[in-house]
């Protein structure tokens, strides 16, 4: 709850006000089970909503954060009821059933297990606060340790030193654990929950690593073309310009920082984000032309998630975003307002989102590959082709004819023997088989070697049509890689994909029942989320929800108001303020606790100590000690010194007898 102080303060006021108000209720079994039902229903509803909102991975922590308000009905019964603890049958359907049956059969209620719900609520509050959004700030950990310590110390005064020690240890462990988690998060490059792990400046490929390409078949985006037009074949998520080892990255470029997209608002309320930067007014108008083809995109997004856009995307609109930015390579990332976003993308524009090539980077070829590439180029005789289009056709043709697509990779890059050829060389000269990363990388390097600027691009192929819904589905398995090639004639970058078309057919079928179920859940989740958050519906939804909430709350408050009861002043009776007498026998309490059940507040000390009789070889000493204790303690007559001495002596005897018994028991156990 650390992120929502108002709710936290309100809850604390409700729960703690029981200490200074005199209203109480006598909740019977029925009221208790009603409250528990209300709590479970609220938790279930909240679980569904949180799941629909956030997806399974963040749903649990999110739900736990909301536990304190959800558990409030039970805590209310605990705080404002007249019982100190709630019977176990309140919480368990089976136990409750058995209780009813017992009552029906005329047996007495077996309330063996009682639970003080306050303890459970305390744990829920602690868990919720540690999962809250402010839990990572530095005062949180010391604060919570001090608060817990204060609570424990006020509840158990007898052993403050060991408690403080335990708290310091726990605090230290918690600190170390937090640091460890932070370290791990940094290590794995995950910048925390709610943030996309996507790195726009580096992607490691499987080039040179044998194995099978495994991708998630879950739906990533759904795409609905405008008026039954065709969708773009390829959607880019990121572009990179430097190949090293098996990694494509963005290095040594002048500007890699992301910049906000330009926006124009031709009609009030219609905001277009322009993909290309610094356009003249005329070109800006061109980017939002009404006759541009467009499609509708819908999917889940986190902060810094890349937006899947075609290479010639012109502008986007209708996305509910806190920000949208692109880098000089045309990689666009978003900061969504909500977990699911949707909007319209206009494409086939006349401008590029990315900047023109920088010759040094976009023509760079790793030295190791140079020889092979030159050999291939010699065979292809690209120089003879007059135009870029022809050159590209030759390359595509060569790959189509001689190469095979395969998701099972066998090429091993032997990094330990620098003399042997690289993975790309092996692919081009020997194996002739690989997956899209091989094709895209080889093509980009070939083009660069022949003097044409080229970049490596990752994204998705739009290929699965859901004819029932008239939309295209983009899954993790549709992930693809291709090239962006600089067309110097038109001054634009164009997509160039040399992967044989057979790769589309080689994808595993998506017809398993689990996959269909997952798809349906995902669709439902996203559609419901968007429906709920649409401005037109948001008001109605919040109205209905608040009406239901207020109705339930009003009903409960009315019922409670009617059945409330005032706690009279007597309950807060004055306690005895006079001097307390302690006798030597009091020092026996700690040791006696190990042999006896703990003393109820109303059980007299002497009667409680009598329970020690079976534990002692000779109970006469105990009887005599108790008698002396009673006299010294409760007789207002002045004490007799000899009696005090005698009691000290007897207490010593009792202590040693108990100690001897304890060690004997220890011995028997071992």
């Amino acid at each position: 709850m650390t992120g929502r102080p108002m709710i936290g303060i309100l809850l604390a006021l409700i729960v703690e006000s029981s200490h200074w108000t005199k209203f109480r209720w006598e909740f019977n079994e029925e009221a208790r089970s009603r409250a528990w039902q209300l709590t479970t229903i609220a938790i279930a509803l909240a679980a569904v909503i949180v799941f629909l909102d956030r997806g399974p991975y963040v749903a649990l922590p999110n739900l736990l954060t909301w536990l304190p308000p959800l558990l409030l009905p039970m805590q209310f019964i605990q705080s404002f009821g007249l019982r100190d603890s709630l019977p176990f049958s309140t919480f368990s359907f089976l136990a409750n059933h058995r209780r009813r049956r017992n009552l029906r059969l005329g047996l007495t209620e077996d309330a063996l297990f009682h639970l003080n719900f306050g303890n459970a609520y305390l744990i829920a509050t602690l868990v919720a606060s540690t999962l809250g959004s402010r839990a990572n700030s530095w005062p949180f950990l010391p604060g919570i340790v001090i608060l817990t310590g204060w609570l424990l110390l006020s509840a158990n005064r007898s052993r403050p030193l060991s408690l403080i020690l335990a708290l310091i240890t726990a605090g230290g462990l918690a600190f170390a654990g937090q640091r460890g988690i932070e370290y791990l998060e940094n290590w794995f490059g995950n910048s925390g929950p709610g943030r996309s792990p996507f790195d726009p400046n580096s992607v490691s490929t499987m080039i040179g690593k044998p194995g099978t390409v495994q991708l998630s078949p879950d739906i990533v985006w759904r795409l609905r073309p405008w008026q039954r037009s065709l969708p773009p074949p390829l959607l880019r998520t990121a572009t990179y310009n430097n190949f090293r080892g098996s990694t494509w990255q963005n290095l040594r470029v002048t500007v890699t920082d992301f910049k906000d997209l330009d926006t124009i608002e031709p009609v009030t309320g219609e905001i277009y984000h322009l993909l290309a930067g610094d356009l003249p007014a005329d070109a800006q108008k061109q980017s939002i032309r009404a006759d541009l083809p467009r499609y509708h995109l819908r999917g889940a997004a986190l902060a810094e998630s890349p937006l899947a856009l075609p290479g010639d995307a012109a502008s986007v609109r209708d996305f509910e975003l806190d920000g949208i930015e692109r880098n000089t390579f045309g990689t666009v990332r978003v900061f969504p307002k909500r977990a699911v976003i949707e909007g319209t993308v206009l494409w086939k524009g006349e401008t590029n989102p990315e900047n023109p090539p920088t010759p040094r980077e976009d023509l760079e070829v790793p030295a190791l590959e140079k020889q092979v590439l030159q050999d291939v180029l010699k065979e292809l005789r690209l120089d003879e082709q007059p135009t870029l289009q022809k050159k590209l056709a030759v390359i595509r043709d060569w790959f189509q004819r001689n190469f095979k697509y395969s998701r099972t990779l066998t090429i091993h890059s032997s990094i330990f023997s620098p003399n042997s050829s690289t993975a790309i060389a092996k692919f081009l000269t020997k194996y002739h088989s690989g997956h899209c990363e091989y094709f895209a990388t080889s093509t980009a390097l070939l083009l660069r070697e022949s003097g044409i600027p080229a970049r490596y691009t990752t994204g998705y192929a739009v290929m699965e049509r859901d004819s029932k819904r008239g939309e295209f589905v983009i899954r993790g398995t549709h992930g693809h890689a291709w090239c962006r090639v600089w067309d110097s004639d038109s001054g634009r970058w164009i997509d160039f994909d040399t992967t044989p078309g057979s790769w589309l057919a080689s994808l595993p079928p998506q017809s398993s029942a689990t996959q269909r179920f997952n798809d349906a859940v995902k669709r439902l989740r996203e559609d419901f989320f968007l429906w709920r958050n649409r401005p037109a519906n948001r008001f109605a939804v919040s109205l209905v929800m608040s009406a239901i909430g207020l109705g339930v709350a009003g009903f409960v408050i009315r019922k409670l108001w009617k059945s409330k009861r005032r706690l009279a002043a007597a309950k807060i009776a004055t306690t005895y303020q006079g001097p307390l007498i302690r006798t030597p026998l009091h020092s026996l309490e700690r040791q006696a606790e190990k042999h006896l059940a703990s003393r109820a507040p109303g059980q007299p000390f002497a009667a409680w100590l009598l329970g020690l009789r079976p534990a002692l070889p000779d109970s006469n000493a105990l009887d005599e000690a108790i008698e002396l204790h009673q006299r010294l303690r409760f007789d207002p007559a002045p004490p007799v010194t000899s009696e005090l001495d005698r009691l000290t002596e007897l207490t010593g005897q009792l202590k040693s007898a108990l100690k001897a018994r304890a060690s004997r028991r220890e011995f028997q156990r071992s």
Partner: protein
């Protein structure tokens, strides 16, 4: 004779007649020593009358009167009446059964409230005002009233004010089979009450009463008594809570019990042992608590358990 010896002789004597009930006997005797009155609520035939008679017979010189309460019983039947003496032409006061040491008010709830109230003044203030004339009652005046908890037809439940006048309400209850067989054996030829010889004089009882008043009671325990009795006020199941008279009675009965125990001070255990007897009958339960099966004794027992006791 020492004080504890008198107490223990008295206890032994009564216990020899009322078998199997040593605790109740001790508490009833303590009630008498404390100057209070006791209400025995129990089933017919459990020995209520025998107990009263046994106490009376063990005290030499103690007067014992018994009134069987019936619906047509009048106040004057209890307090007494002035009758015109034809010879002297003067009204002569004929004292009623209330002028005695030990009064057994049998089935007290069968008399009309008016008659029940006639006992109020006598029990509370040890005096009777008859026709404007105040008559002091004896220093040892002790009322043992009985009522039947089962039969309600034709009864008048005691008013709260009357209930409050009783220091304690006890129940004898059934004894074990062995004890019951012993009772049969006792009564084969004669009733043991008839064989009972007095073991203490009336003066000794008055001395016991004085001794009980001098049993020491610590300040802290006084607070405990007040807290315990005060806890009934504001208890959600209680409509009419216990009065300060309850605190007073609890203190006095505990002091008297200490005499029987041979102690010259009161310990918290003593207070707890009689608290239910002293407090419970003064409480009127809230209707919803009554119909949900709560009992006053149970509530007092819970309060004893919850109220922190001085250790």
């Amino acid at each position: 004779m020492s004080i504890p010896a008198t107490a223990s002789r008295l206890e032994t004597a009564v216990c020899s007649v009322v078998r199997g009930q040593p605790e109740v006997v001790r508490r009833v005797l303590a009630c008498m020593i404390s100057g209070g009155h006791v209400l025995l609520e129990d089933f017919p035939g459990t020995g209520k009358t025998t107990l009263a008679k046994a106490i009376a017979k063990s005290i030499r010189g103690a007067m014992f009167k018994r009134v069987q309460f019936t619906p047509d019983l009048l106040p004057s039947d209890i307090l007494g009446i002035s009758v015109l003496d034809p010879r002297t032409q003067e009204f002569r006061f004929h004292p009623g059964p209330v002028f005695t040491d030990i009064l057994l008010a049998d089935e007290i709830n069968r008399a009309s409230p008016r008659t029940q109230s006639a006992l109020l003044e006598a029990m509370g203030e040890r005096q009777a005002t008859i026709e404007g004339q105040r008559h002091d009652l004896d220093g040892m005046f002790f009322v043992i009233a009985t009522q039947n908890p089962v039969e309600f037809r034709g009864t008048y439940p005691l008013p709260e004010a009357q209930m409050d006048r009783f220091s304690m309400q006890c129940a004898l209850g059934y004894v074990s089979a062995a004890e019951e067989a012993a009772i049969l054996a006792d009564q084969t030829e004669t009733h043991p009450v008839d064989r009972l010889a007095p073991v203490a004089t009336r003066e000794e009882i008055l001395e016991l009463m004085a001794a009980a008043r001098h049993v020491r009671f610590s300040e802290e325990l006084r607070h405990y008594v007040v807290t315990l009795v005060g806890a009934t006020r504001g208890h959600p199941s209680v409509q009419l809570a216990a009065s300060p008279r309850a605190s007073l009675a609890l203190m006095k009965v505990s002091q008297a019990l200490a005499v029987f125990q041979g102690d010259d001070f009161v310990s918290p255990e003593l207070i707890q042992s009689v608290a239910a007897d002293v407090i419970a009958h003064r409480i009127v339960l809230a209707p919803e608590a009554k119909y949900s099966g709560a009992s006053a004794r149970q509530i007092v027992a819970d309060l004893i358990e919850q109220t922190p006791v001085p250790v």
